[in-house]
Assembly symmetry: C2
Homo-oligomer: 291 residues x 2
């Protein structure tokens, strides 16, 4: 019943290297909806096992570049998507295969330094082995948040100012290869994300509020996420999911703003339900809303 050999080269199966969280599943589903065949390469210790079994797949470990290259070639894959959380592991967590060992000096150079640096290094290595790194949004554009209100009320004037301030801050930090999120409440920067990730940043603000150390009342403040300026968008686009909404609500914020067209919403239906239940807004904004 399937087209088989009639498929054009671009319709070779898509290799999806799956890290943690719910985004990899959303990407796989969206690619399949667009008629693309996919082969998953879930990363042991990071990828969720639950959805993987319903797709052709091969588990890989971090450090098994050789195994990945071999299996992906055997499956006829050329395009590769890297998606999902893969916090930088400590060296002892890596299980290096021989091709990876030979790549090691290059990997280590990429590994030290900021995320941009790491990701550019990975893209170059893939390309030298005959693969093409593509963005999740290239194969599944409908996973991206669009401009406008997704859930809850529209941001008010005060929220808009907080959003603009956070976007300006993120833009200013861009050249220094730091996080993709900040929390601003009525002009006060409550938190800036770096290595800890969005969820831990939200938990910190929830704790500061419990301690009475946030001067603005509960229900004020916005979490703003966006891609770093100049970031290679084939890699590491920021993403939000239902758990982000839970964090926003626990931190007593009014809502969540993300850069439209450059942020992935995993499981948008449950995300909107969670936002409506918690009474927080979710809005896609233009990156240049700074001024």
């Amino acid at each position: 019943m399937t087209g088989g050999s009639a498929a054009p080269p671009s319709e070779a199966p898509l290799a999806i290297v799956c890290g943690g969280g719910s985004v990899p599943q959303a990407v796989a589903e969206a690619a399949v909806r667009k008629g693309r065949r996919v082969v998953l390469f879930p990363v042991r210790g990071w990828a969720r096992g639950d959805f993987v079994a319903t797709y052709p797949h091969h588990w890989i470990a971090l450090g098994q570049a050789g195994r990945f290259f071999r299996l992906a070639r055997a499956e006829g894959c050329r395009d590769v998507v890297l998606i999902g959380a893969m916090v930088r592991p400590a060296a002892w967590q890596l299980r290096l295969d021989w091709p990876t060992v030979r790549l090691l000096p290059r990997v280590l150079r990429a590994y030290r330094g900021g995320d941009d640096h790491l990701l550019r290094g990975v893209a170059g290595i893939l390309e030298d082995h005959g693969f093409r790194l593509v963005g999740a949004h290239d194969v599944a554009p409908d996973i991206l948040v669009r401009e406008g209100v997704l859930a809850g009320r529209a941001p008010n004037e005060r929220d808009r100012k907080d959003i603009a301030q956070a976007l300006g801050l993120l833009a200013a930090m861009g050249p220094f290869d730091v996080g993709q999120a900040a929390i601003v409440a009525e002009g006060l920067v409550l938190a800036v994300e770096a290595a800890e990730g969005t969820d831990l940043m939200l938990a910190r603000v929830a704790e500061l509020r419990r301690q009475g150390r946030v001067p603005t009342p509960s229900g004020s403040g916005v979490l703003v996420k966006g891609p770093k300026p100049g970031q290679d968008r084939r890699l590491d686009l920021p993403s939000i999911g239902p758990q982000t909404i839970d964090g926003v609500a626990s931190a007593g914020l009014a809502g969540l703003a993300v850069v439209a067209g450059a942020t992935i919403a995993a499981d948008p239906e449950r995300l909107v339900q969670a936002a409506d239940r918690a009474g927080v807004f979710v809005v896609g904004v233009r990156e240049d809303e700074t001024r």
Copy 2:
């Protein structure tokens, strides 16, 4: 034995409004060493009680601007130093006296918004009541960190790069009125300080390291503190003390760099001892070491 009425007007006693931490004591001692009379106004709930009793003093509560104005005038004070940690309290922690209530609209305008905004508001209010806000470093310049290595080894080439990256990041964030510190390890920004303060930021990095989420080995990375660009240096200069060293050591960092001439070292002797014991360096750097 004292000069009494022969003192010039600038030698009227100095009012020191004391928040938390060990910096207020260091400022009082340094001012007295320079021959200045001081009257302390320790803030209830924040100031340490131990050293206060050895000076003329009046306890005040947050929100008792009227009581402060009255007592400071009665003591003949004109110059006022505000020093020490005073995390923004929740509204229910304030005990407002009547003059404060009348100032309230102005205080609230200053209170919302970032630190710069708050501090400029406070300076204006003091001046309208006949006082002059002076910087702790104006009355006690020897509490400022000087350029060069204070403790431990000299920063190596890698440390220098991390320091320059952090200074650049802090400078870029300046216009957005955010924290005064960041932690960079081998080019990777591990943490940026906002409302949580330096100690909590250090604890976060210690936790990330315990979880194996910091890719660079223990003993790499630098905490960098500096004043915000354009910040009114009469207020809220960054400060370090022995507990900062403990945090730097727990976070597995190589050392601590501060902007020379614009950072207060409280209790420098114990600070150097703590640094030598922990094997971390402390260095005063020029703010323009960015490039």
